[in-house]
């Protein structure tokens, strides 16, 4: 069982909140969800929509056909009618607009009349819609009542009851007028306890699990909810959040706190990241750990702020003047986000260098079900590894940049009695003092470069392979949030008896050629799938390993891939 429920209406009237409420209800009833929001870069007046895929097994991506479309205005219908089928249910208000077409199931709900009868606020249309939705899906009002209770109890029982009335109106209306249209797709079933989490939420969990103590940011879509979630968690977790004056201050504040000894992170999108770039180079030469969360959106410049793209990969890989080691990781879903984020803090401390965790709007803002025990286990088992970070030096003469075999020097937390040192943005000798000496320069360049060799030998992880490489004729190659659509596409292709495999990269840069090359046997049809127009990962793969993938499926209209699109492409271009 799998269906898509979609709600749309005017921006500023609670569409996104009700979508999330629906996801949570579906999860509590025992189902898995994946959702996706569409909204313009403004607060009022545009069109907002949110769709939720509900399934009895884990959902990774969207589904093109809409099964239930809730139209809080006519635009919702106009924008999405091309995705309706003869089986789709369309909830709409005949007082709002007239529906001529007959090629789907019409469920009229008098939103306007209910509102005016009871003197409700426009935002309560959502509550009516939620009641109607739950009726159509054969559920009850128990959970929505609980949620309304939690949401409004601070305003008093009267407000709670008033809101509940609207849910009841929508519910009763459908029960009475459309009993034959009710589909029992959302009856309660047993399932593990799940959290409904976005990629940004997952970054927050990963950071807190890894004991991040300072998070610094300047709001920028689609990374902003990391800032607001972390800020809301300050009291509970003790983390300090600084919303600084600009992204340059953001990263330099975090570098200051990192220097002083605590795990520190920043978050931004492409434009803010651009402002941070000089300081990434600073972190590289001064050897200060820092985790940078880069949630991409469609660029260049201001681009399309609320839409998705994987357009900053090569920028991230090359960010910073001069040569220094840097690690770029890219999770493909929320579980990988939690894991890789927590790992990023260990890697930053071990290698004393910037680690970039890449996301994009599709991963950052979509919610997916996550088994609660996944987080519970990781938060208890995750081991903090700070590498050569010490509170007391192990050698009598402490040298911050001591030349070592693995390229890593002891990092002393400031404050240890009897010692002092400087970290330096200039080239330096082993004790940190500035130098322009040729031999010292070579030593320090080579020392920093050795950190990469150590990383590749100890911590680089090979891409994950989904499907059976031996029997696969078609092999998808990708990274990041395209993972979900590709996994769904693989299932669809398997049902058409097409064997596929998917090579999913998470440790993007640097790459170990010796590990990666053997994963690409000859004689297969390789397809590079990326949410950008340059095929940036393909270029990176070529640069790092010599592997060139000629066939590319690229999408760069600001929208994520539909699994159906990948299937169609695969079948058409044989």
């Amino acid at each position: 069982m799998k269906f898509t429920w979609k709600i749309g209406g005017e921006a500023g009237f609670g569409i996104l909140t009700s979508g999330l409420v629906f996801s949570k209800i579906a999860n509590r009833l025992g189902y898995y969800t994946f959702d996706y929001i569409e909204y313009p870069s403004l607060i009022r007046g545009g069109h907002n929509a949110l769709e939720v895929v509900v399934s009895d097994e884990e959902a990774h991506a969207l589904k093109k056909d809409i099964d239930f479309l809730v139209c809080l205005n006519e635009d919702t219908y106009k924008h999405h009618k091309h995705r309706l089928t003869s089986q789709s249910h369309v909830l709409y208000d005949p007082d709002e607009f007239v529906l001529q077409e007959e090629n789907f199931i019409k469920i009229s709900v008098p939103f306007k009349k209910f509102l005016s009868d009871l003197k409700g606020l426009p935002v309560m249309k959502n509550t009516i819609a939620m009641g109607a939705t739950l009726a159509i899906l054969g559920s009850d009002l128990l959970l929505i009542s609980e949620i309304l209770e939690k949401q409004f109890i601070r305003k008093g029982q009267e407000v709670v009851d008033f809101n509940k009335k609207f849910a009841q109106l929508g519910y009763d209306h459908v029960k009475q007028n459309f009993p034959q249209q009710i589909i029992k797709d959302l009856t309660k079933k047993e399932s593990e306890q799940k959290l409904v989490m976005s990629g940004n939420d997952a970054f927050c969990f990963g950071s807190i699990i890894a004991d991040c103590r300072v998070y610094c940011a300047y709001p920028m879509t689609p990374s902003s909810t990391v800032l607001t979630t972390m800020a809301a968690w300050q009291e509970k977790t003790g983390i300090i959040v600084r919303h600084a004056e600009d992204e340059i201050s953001v990263i330099n504040t975090a570098l200051g706190s990192s220097f002083a000894g605590v795990r520190s992170a920043v978050g931004t999108s492409g434009g803010g990241f651009a402002l941070m770039v000089e300081s990434i180079s600073f972190a590289g030469i001064a050897e200060m750990p820092i985790v940078i969360f880069l949630a991409q959106r469609a660029g260049p410049a201001t681009g399309m702020p609320t839409w998705t793209e994987q357009g900053d990969l090569l920028f991230a890989v090359h960010a910073g003047h001069g040569e220094f080691p840097k690690i770029v990781l890219a999770p493909g879903d929320i579980e990988e986000m939690v894991n890789l984020t927590a790992r990023a803090f260990n890697l930053a401390d071990i290698y004393q260098t910037p680690v970039i965790v890449m996301s994009d709007m599709f991963l950052s803002e979509s919610h997916k079900s996550m088994a609660k025990k996944f987080i519970e286990e990781l938060s208890t088992t995750f081991k903090i590894e700070r590498g050569k970070t010490v509170n007391v030096p192990t050698e009598q003469k402490y040298l911050r940049y001591r030349v070592s075999g693995d390229g890593i020097s002891e990092r002393l937390i400031p404050g240890a009695k009897g010692h002092f040192y400087q970290v330096n943005s200039y080239e330096h000798v082993e004790d940190g003092h500035t130098t322009e000496d040729a031999q010292a320069r070579r030593q320090q360049v080579e020392k920093r470069n050795r950190k990469w060799e150590t990383y590749l030998a100890k911590d680089f992880e090979a891409p994950k392979i989904f499907g059976d490489m031996n029997s696969a004729e078609i092999v998808f190659v990708s990274w990041g949030s395209t993972k979900g659509p590709i996994l769904e596409a693989q299932k669809m292709l398997a049902s058409q008896r097409k064997n596929t495999a998917y090579i999913h990269f998470t440790h993007l840069y640097p790459m170990d050629k010796g590990v990666v090359v053997p994963l690409f046997p000859s004689g297969k049809r390789y397809v590079l799938v990326e949410n950008n127009s340059h095929g940036q990962f393909g270029k990176l793969l070529l640069m790092e390993t010599g592997i060139e993938i000629k066939e590319k499926l690229l999408k760069y209209d600001g929208r994520p891939f539909w699994p159906e699109e990948i299937v169609e492409y695969t079948n058409q271009h044989v």
């Binding site: 600084r242 220097f259 001064a286 404050g415």
Partner: protein, 284 residues
């Protein structure tokens, strides 16, 4: 008890006669007199002749990027608010490249002490105009004289919420020492603008010039009066008169003191957070 020697790193490379010599010795003297040692203070250096003090002063230190010392200092303070944090910066560094950070550091009343070497010129890049250069100042980047009027760091800091604003003169080391000590003692953002002759590239604002154009605030001067401080600070712009001393000091909680997270211990000292059960409710 530490000594000047404990704080002394490499021999300075400043030009003979540069005002930085006086500031350098004043910083060490102030730290010694306050009972600090190189292990008990964090110093963040900007880029410029001032920032080059990184190699001459021993401390837990960052030699930062041009303009970025203040956010580094703010971050270091947040992580370990029990250690004093001093930023040693230049006028181009702090008021030009890092001007935005300066404004917001004042607003935030971050408990850091900012010592600005104000020589009215870019020394390290061999003599271009600075944001503090006087109107008409001829330099390599303004051969016909600068069109802009100089920034006024004192009134800027005052209007942006700094709680300690002082000015001193590199030619009077004892006074610089006093201003720095009071600045470090002050809980909150402290600015010490040090008038510093650049003997190589600034032939206008010389030792003699500052001796003629500066004056010490009188003993009876009330430093808790913002309007009076503004009036005094403004004399630099309107009358070419440079007041020396603490123009303004008030007491408002420092940023780190307003954070309940830091009420018990420094961030560096805290135990790891483990109570994840508290975070789940918003996701169910």
């Amino acid at each position: 008890m530490s000594t000047i020697q404990d704080f002394s790193g490499y021999a300075p490379t400043w030009c003979p006669g540069c005002g930085d010599w006086g500031i350098g010795i004043a910083i060490k003297t102030a730290l010694v007199q306050m009972g600090l040692d190189p292990s008990s203070v964090m110093v963040i250096f900007g880029i410029g002749c001032s920032g080059n003090m990184n190699d001459f002063l021993n401390a837990y230190a960052i030699h930062s990027l041009h303009g970025r010392a203040l956010p580094n200092a703010i971050g270091a303070k947040l992580a370990n608010h029990k250690m004093p944090v001093v930023a040693v910066v230049g006028d181009g560094d702090c008021y030009g490249e890092g001007g935005n950070h300066f404004i917001h550091a004042c607003r935030g009343n971050h408990d850091i002490t900012v010592i600005v070497h104000d020589n009215g010129v870019y020394g390290l890049t061999t003599g271009q105009v600075a944001p503090t250069s006087q109107k008409g100042f001829k330099s390599k980047s303004t051969p016909s004289g600068i069109i802009e009027t100089p920034i006024n760091p004192l009134t800027l800091a005052l209007t942006q919420g700094a709680t300690y604003v002082a000015q001193t003169f590199a030619g009077n080391v004892n006074h610089v020492v006093e201003m720095i000590k009071e600045g470090i003692k002050h809980k909150g953002f402290s600015l010490i603008n040090v008038l510093q002759p650049c003997v190589t590239f600034n032939k206008i604002n010389t030792y003699k010039y500052y001796l003629q154009h500066s004056y010490k605030l009188p003993d009876e001067y009330k430093k808790d009066n913002l309007e009076e401080a503004m009036r005094k600070g403004n004399e630099m712009t309107t009358a070419e008169k440079f007041p020396l001393g603490i123009l303004y000091q008030s007491h408002r909680q420092a940023f780190s003191d307003e954070l309940p997270q830091l009420a018990q211990a420094a961030l560096t000292e805290k135990q790891r957070f483990v109570n994840f059960e508290n975070l789940y409710s918003d996701f169910l």
